[in-house]
Symmetry: C2
Subunit: 416 residues, 2 copies
Amino acid sequence: MHAVDEANQEALRRMLAADPVLIDVIPAAQAIGALKENVLLHAGPPIAWERMCGPLRGAIAGAIVFEGWAADLDEAFTSAAAGAIAFHPNHHFDAVGPMTGITTRSMPLLVVENRTFGNRAYCTINEGLGKVMRFGGNDAEVLTRLAWLRDGLAPVLAAALRAAGGIGLKSLIARGLSMGDEMHQRNVACTSLLLRELAPWLVRAGKDPDVVAQAMQFIAGNDQFFLNVAMAMGKAIMDPVRGIAGSSVVTAMSRNGTDFGIQVSGTGERWFTAPVEMPEGLYFPSFSEKDANPDMGDSTIVETIGLGGFAMAASPAVAGFVGAGSAATAAAVTKAMSEITVGENPEWTIPALDFAGVPTGIDIRLVLETGLAPTINTGIAHREPGIGQVGAGVVKAPMACFAQALSGLAQALGVA
Amino acid sequence: MHAVDEANQEALRRMLAADPVLIDVIPAAQAIGALKENVLLHAGPPIAWERMCGPLRGAIAGAIVFEGWAADLDEAFTSAAAGAIAFHPNHHFDAVGPMTGITTRSMPLLVVENRTFGNRAYCTINEGLGKVMRFGGNDAEVLTRLAWLRDGLAPVLAAALRAAGGIGLKSLIARGLSMGDEMHQRNVACTSLLLRELAPWLVRAGKDPDVVAQAMQFIAGNDQFFLNVAMAMGKAIMDPVRGIAGSSVVTAMSRNGTDFGIQVSGTGERWFTAPVEMPEGLYFPSFSEKDANPDMGDSTIVETIGLGGFAMAASPAVAGFVGAGSAATAAAVTKAMSEITVGENPEWTIPALDFAGVPTGIDIRLVLETGLAPTINTGIAHREPGIGQVGAGVVKAPMACFAQALSGLAQALGVA
């Protein structure tokens, strides 16, 4: 397996060499040519309407109305069930999306460029908490907010990013880790640092002070605003790691609410899937486990680059929020993840672990040898369409994905 | 000593009941009636020109030129030495100032109101790093920046704060502690959180977008911007704790570069002083211990309320910056400080200590019993006027102050 180790070192080298920069916000149809009418991208591996969970269907119906492909939600559900809409994973088009992860042609996308490798990756703008499309929300309140993101926030954010010449994310993440963020369920530091860097540019680039003030208020009012930036960054970092012959490093982990899927460098674009698990966590008042949908979203891309659950030690506050316990437990999670990774990131360090780097590059062999599944910090959606977030917790990547992937890699290497 | 314990519980109660809100920025002459021409406030206990250190003299000369009381620095030094200027401590006028702590009539002051007790406290605006008046800087660059703070930043900041109805500081500090700030040598989180809250108000209140953008850029470019807010907050919290008969709780710790002084609740406005010590720390490139001035500034007010060195465990990054070692050392410092304090602050907690509250209310009896002097995180100024900051480190409050204060308290109680 010496060749696999060498391939994995190359994978790690590419991950650490990445230089992700948030450069722009553009309409999805401009970023992704395939996003024609009646085409919709979703989180996770490929899935047909029949097997989709409640919140994913709910979000899809909302997006269909948002795009004007149906007059109302009933018509949208009927149309989707009848096969009028083509569904594809975000991951097939350089994109990612949180939870349901819906991307359609008129939605504005954050653009992160990996300047070392020249590739770009995309993610929608975070809608905030509560009843939102990523958690299956689809009513007028949800669609009105999406329209404001498109018509109000996106143009001024785009103008500011262009004027600033982009915002480098590598050092921003480094600061965020020293400020208690793990960039999955806690993004308060990075959101604040990003707004702080962008604020003067927003003022200078914005034509209408009212819109600028609203844009700032929206960002300032949403501690998870940065999550979607971190996700686009994760995708931009991992895409150049795809297709290294023999590498057993995970390039994507993702879920659609029904299946959990992973992709591995040495097996290219192939998905290895297994039924997704239920998160274990804490519920918002008046909700409980019986309301919960199984796990979903492309946001696990952040664990793939050593953040989220892998960086739990940086974020004892999030350990409490997701029900994972105390600072000591948080440190133990990060230490466990270092047993299934190829190396550490010397530029992304955790003060509480005396500045150890985050565990980087999940090796499917180590996952199977140790029996330690990747730990993911996640939001929990209601199982019915239209309701939204009901809690937050921790979920494990299913071991079956990794076993399949190892077989697939062995086939690819001609040893099976 | 039962009466002392009861008095200390009342001191702690008042500290925890405080509700500090940053409400305004106003000219010093408006805040403090005594600030006439040729009157100057400085950090620390009272001191005459003859005993002042180099950077304090340098800053005073700069302030005299800034106010137009002398044509140049030479004339300013001569004038100050000849007794033309009246010197008083900031602490005598509800105010505090970092390092040299110079306050003169035209300087804008941050206003923090303690809404529980109705009192207000003041502090100048932080100038940024490098060659600045608080570290003894006094040339044209320093004075030009001070003029911009007065004419550019202050009016727009004041308008934004008034429009926002003030910014509550209690919860902002709570968040900052979970984001790696200890609010003395590290304020990156609180600076970012403050700018994030203020940004929409700055846009709406500002008349000229260029000035608004400059204001944001100035705040965003200075990780220590929040320090002066934290100091005014500390003063606003501690002033209502003064004059509780029998209380052995420290209400102020402060240094003027020559003397370290403390005040204690049960002994009112009396200062107990001892020679100030040299910080132990790390120096910027090309500087060393031989360049260092002994410790100075009113910023120790933050340790008095449980932040700074007392909250070191929240800030492993600052432990490295001030040369205090690793995360484990940082935790040990906070634990040691809990041996000399009356209680904990349940609203200001430290995630890395499993959400223990910061050690609150320094009891001079416990300092003397344990031999543990309060630990202070501090900046280090060059000993010559006009140069500026040369490092950062840790310094101990001199034990002699506490011994004198205990005698003073015993006298006040009629037991000595």
